[in-house]
């Protein structure tokens, strides 16, 4: 069951690389977050004793990552009036190929080779690592500030999955801190995207290239 959600998560991450439409990307991000929150709920509720820790975390994910952030992004898309990623720094086809390569790296190298002595439950950890890497690569391949923002959140999703997968969740206080951080961070970034749009009249970071050397 968990593996299925993980697969959904991974596929969503990969598909994010495949499209230009920002709305679609936001939807995929939401799907990702939903998968995460389902994993958390599943882990929390499936055992005999309810793991409240997991449930709380799952709930937080639902609120912050499934509801608030996508909504903010959605608003932002309309504010800055940019529905499609126009310019990519890496082409779509090659970015999918690289994405597959990264998944291969996570599944075929990091976990089996580097962590071969560690008992790893399922492919959760591989999926999580792949998620982080894909999120990072998503940021590399997109130019608009908004997409980069989305990429950050995608990376955080990967991290979250990793935390859940590996350890059954970080200590709660830490988890809370992280959530708070992400929320504030994303909001600040969103604010800044807004400002960039105001000042530069575009959110294409191609034009953010005055500082060099």
């Amino acid at each position: 069951m968990v593996d299925l959600f993980a697969l959904i998560f991974l596929v969503a991450s990969l598909f994010m690389l495949a499209g230009r439409s920002i709305i679609n990307t936001i939807i995929l991000l939401t799907v990702q977050a939903l998968a995460l929150c389902l994993i958390a709920f599943y882990l929390g509720l499936s055992s005999q004793e309810t793991n409240w820790h997991m449930v709380i975390v799952g709930g937080l994910t639902l609120v912050v990552k499934v509801i608030i952030l996508p909504w903010v992004f959605y608003k932002l898309v309309y504010k800055v009036n940019l529905h499609r990623e126009v310019s990519l720094s890496v082409g779509l086809v090659s970015s999918i190929l690289i994405g597959l390569l990264l998944i291969g790296l996570a599944y075929g190298y990091i976990v089996p080779v580097l962590l071969k002595d560690i008992p790893v439950g399922g492919h959760l950890i591989s999926a999580a690592l792949a998620g982080v890497l894909l999120g990072c690569f998503f940021m590399i391949s997109r130019r608009s500030a908004l997409s980069q923002l989305i990429g950050v959140v995608a990376m955080e999703n990967g991290l979250f999955l990793c935390g859940v997968a590996v350890t059954g969740g970080m200590p709660l206080i830490i988890e809370l801190g992280i959530f708070f951080d992400i929320l504030v961070g994303a909001l600040v970034m969103a604010l800044m995207t807004y400002q960039i749009n105001d000042t530069f009249e575009t959110i294409d970071t191609k034009f953010l290239n005055k500082l060099k050397g």
Binding site: Y109, L133, N209, G213
Partner: protein
């Protein structure tokens, strides 16, 4: 080892003490001396900008401390055991001990003797810089001299390096004192950068000997160096040679010297040229001979070769100069070369395990060092006096000063004669000893090659000697003799008594040491005895006194005879100018004086001649002829300039990494991560 034995006495007394402790009366004097320098550095700030008091408080403490330092130095030079004072651990693992052994004593007394007189000189001389801020000058100057004093007296590598760099730093600010001129700024920059890069090599040399614990004391390093392999020792040697060679101005590394020395005020250049570059020689001797000990013969060979190259190239460029101070600066390169010839010869002997000739050669090098300190500062000060009187250092604008400022002229002449190694004066005495050492290399017949090398080195020294003579005939003849070439020179007046007075002792020393060189040589052999084990040398005797006596007697008798025989009538007229009234334009100029040399040594100098005739008639009757002949510095042209432009262009290429593209930046992070992940296996 003899080394630890020598320091035992000392360490029993001081080691492990945390706080300041005064050993004895000498310790007190050391402390007072340092305090006086610091007072001299700070005091002028307390007075109104450039009031009379700020000149006095800036210059005089340096002189007073100089006297104290001289006393200390002489005490160190003639005492059997080193003495000193500890200031405790100033930094983690670094105990500051000022320790004066004979080598330190020698250098200390040289530095202090010269700076004592220069302090007096500056008191008057700095008045031409009235519009500048004298307080800053005094600050840098006193700290500069203090750091030189400390450089030669500390016995710890880290402390040495700290004061070494402070010395560089303060002298940088002294060089850039007249910062309004672009050339001065450039000179300061080149000086600072080159010597700073040189310091890296020195640090390297020290650190190869460091073993991670036990501290940075010279004695510890000496003990560590015993266990070094031969190649490591050679690295120490090479690094030290490059590092100290930069400061000393050894030829491929001398670029800064002819820039910086002229840029500084004359009294500062006198200190820099007279004593500062000597601290590099101190470092070389300390490191190569005292700490590392004997090495392979090629060490000596290399030093000797560098010495020869520096001497010859230095003097050839000196001969080409029109600027008196640049000329003197190049001549410093040459003299450092001669000193290095002495040291190199000594290293050769040392490697052959012949302590006595090694000692004599080293003592000869040191003797020349002392002599150079004396006459070079004399010459720089005299040049300063010219500048004071005429506000120019360009020989082509001088002339006829012999009549205007006869005493300065005499002092300059004595300096010039001494530096040209004429018998009776000290330059000859030390060069003589170096000749002797070179002939000894040859006559020992250790190998045929070395025998020939010894003779060739002597030939190089002879060549240098003649070129120096030519160079100073030009320097003195063009600037002091004949007719003044400009109104500036014609309006010159004799400089104030204080300045002449501070130069006179130097001139007297030139003559005194020329007549009694054995005094200096024998005490220097005492210094060397401390460095090279088993080199007790019987008293050296020289013929210089007899020669001087005979020569002077002959001159006097001849003079008397020519008087006694009745003076024929002497008629004074103007010089015959082929029917035209002679004027300054007809004189031989500095450029024309050196023209035959430019031609003969054109392979090295690459003179670029440019002649333009502006006239409507045939080329022989142009009414206006523009003539320019520049010599190229081969080093600058083919080494430093390409190096510089290469660095800059490569840097510009490298800058493209930071292109401003955020995707690229993220890519860097990503790639780094992936590479590390792959690397981790």
């Amino acid at each position: 080892m003899y080394y630890s034995g020598r320091f035992f006495f000392f360490y029993k007394q001081y080691y492990g003490e945390g706080s300041v402790m005064f050993a004895s009366i000498q310790g007190n004097i050391i402390f007072i001396m340092i305090a006086i320098y610091l007072i001299g550095a700070v005091m002028p700030f307390l007075f109104k900008v450039n009031s009379k008091m700020s000149f006095i408080t800036g210059c005089i403490p340096g002189s007073i401390a100089g006297v104290l330092g001289l006393v200390l130095g002489l005490a160190g030079l003639f005492s059997t055991d080193p003495f000193g004072v500890s200031f405790g651990h100033i930094l983690p693992g670094v105990e500051l001990i000022i320790q004066i052994d004979r080598l330190s004593g020698f250098f200390l007394s040289t530095i202090c003797l010269v700076t004592f007189l220069i302090g007096l000189y500056s008191w008057e001389y700095m008045k031409i810089y009235r519009q500048e801020n004298i307080a800053w000058w005094s600050f840098y100057y006193n700290i500069f001299v203090l750091s030189m004093v400390l450089v030669v007296t500390v016995n710890n590598a880290i402390a040495f390096l700290i004061f070494w760099e402070v010395m560089t730093l303060t002298s940088y600010f002294l060089v850039t004192f007249e910062y309004r001129s672009q050339n001065v700024r450039k000179a300061g920059f080149v000086y600072f950068v080159m010597t700073h890069l040189g310091t890296v090599f020195i640090i390297g040399a020290f650190f190869i000997m460091f073993n991670g614990f036990g501290g940075w004391g010279y004695d510890v390093l000496a003990r560590n160096s015993i266990s070094l392999t031969a190649s490591e020792k050679s690295w120490v040697f090479l690094l030290a040679l490059i590092g100290f060679g930069t400061k000393a101005g050894v030829v491929p590394l001398n670029v800064w010297l002819p820039l910086a020395h002229p840029a500084a005020p004359s009294n500062v250049s006198a200190v820099m040229s007279g004593v500062m570059i000597k601290t590099a020689i101190y470092g070389m001797i300390r490191l190569m001979i005292d700490i590392v000990g004997p090495g392979p013969t090629w060490w000596g060979g290399l030093v000797l070769t560098l010495g020869i190259i520096s001497a010859v190239i230095g003097v050839i460029y000196a001969l080409m100069e029109q600027d008196l101070k640049r000329l003197l600066a190049f001549s410093s390169v040459e003299n450092i070369g001669i000193i290095l010839m002495g040291i190199g010869t000594s290293l050769v002997f040392y490697s052959w395990a012949m302590p006595v000739p090694a000692a004599i050669a080293l003592a000869a090098g040191l003797f020349h060092l002392f002599n150079h300190a004396i006459f070079k500062s004399l010459l720089f000060l005299a040049t300063g006096a010219i500048y004071y009187a005429t506000h120019t250092r360009n020989m082509e604008e001088l002339g006829g000063l012999m009549k205007k400022m006869p005493q300065t002229a005499l002092l300059f002449l004595i300096g010039a004669i001494s530096i040209s190694a004429m018998p009776l004066f000290n330059g000859f005495a030390s060069e003589y000893q170096i000749y002797q050492s070179l002939v000894t290399i040859s006559s020992l017949r250790v190998s045929g090659l070395w025998s020939i090398a010894g003779i060739l080195a002597a030939v190089a020294l002879a060549l240098t000697g003649t070129l120096v003579a030519a160079c100073f005939v030009k320097a003195f003849g063009i600037s002091f003799l004949a007719l003044p070439r400009t109104p500036k020179a014609a309006a010159a007046r004799e400089v104030p008594l204080r300045m002449r007075f501070s130069m006179a002792p130097l001139a007297a020393l030139c003559l005194g040491l020329g007549i009694f060189p054995q005094v200096a040589m024998n005490s220097l052999l005492g210094v060397v005895d401390q460095l090279i084990p088993g080199s007790r040398v019987p008293e050296l005797t020289t013929y210089n006194f007899d020669l001087a006596l005979l020569l002077l007697a002959t001159i006097l008798v001849l003079l008397a005879l020519s008087r006694l025989l009745g003076t024929p009538r002497v008629r004074k007229t103007a010089t015959w100018g082929c029917g035209i009234e002679t004027d300054a334009a007809m004189e031989y100029s500095a450029a024309s004086f050196s023209q035959p040399f430019r031609r003969v040594y054109r392979g090295l100098l690459q003179p670029q001649r440019k002649v333009e005739t502006k006239g409507n008639l045939s080329p022989y009757f142009g009414y206006q002829i523009y003539f320019e002949e520049q010599v190229k510095s081969v080093l600058k042209e083919f080494l430093y300039r390409p190096l510089r432009s290469l660095t800059i262009s490569m840097s510009k290429k490298w800058q493209c990494l930071q292109s401003g593209n955020i995707n690229l930046y993220l890519g860097y992070v990503f790639i780094t991560l992936v590479v590390l992940l792959v690397w981790v296996r």
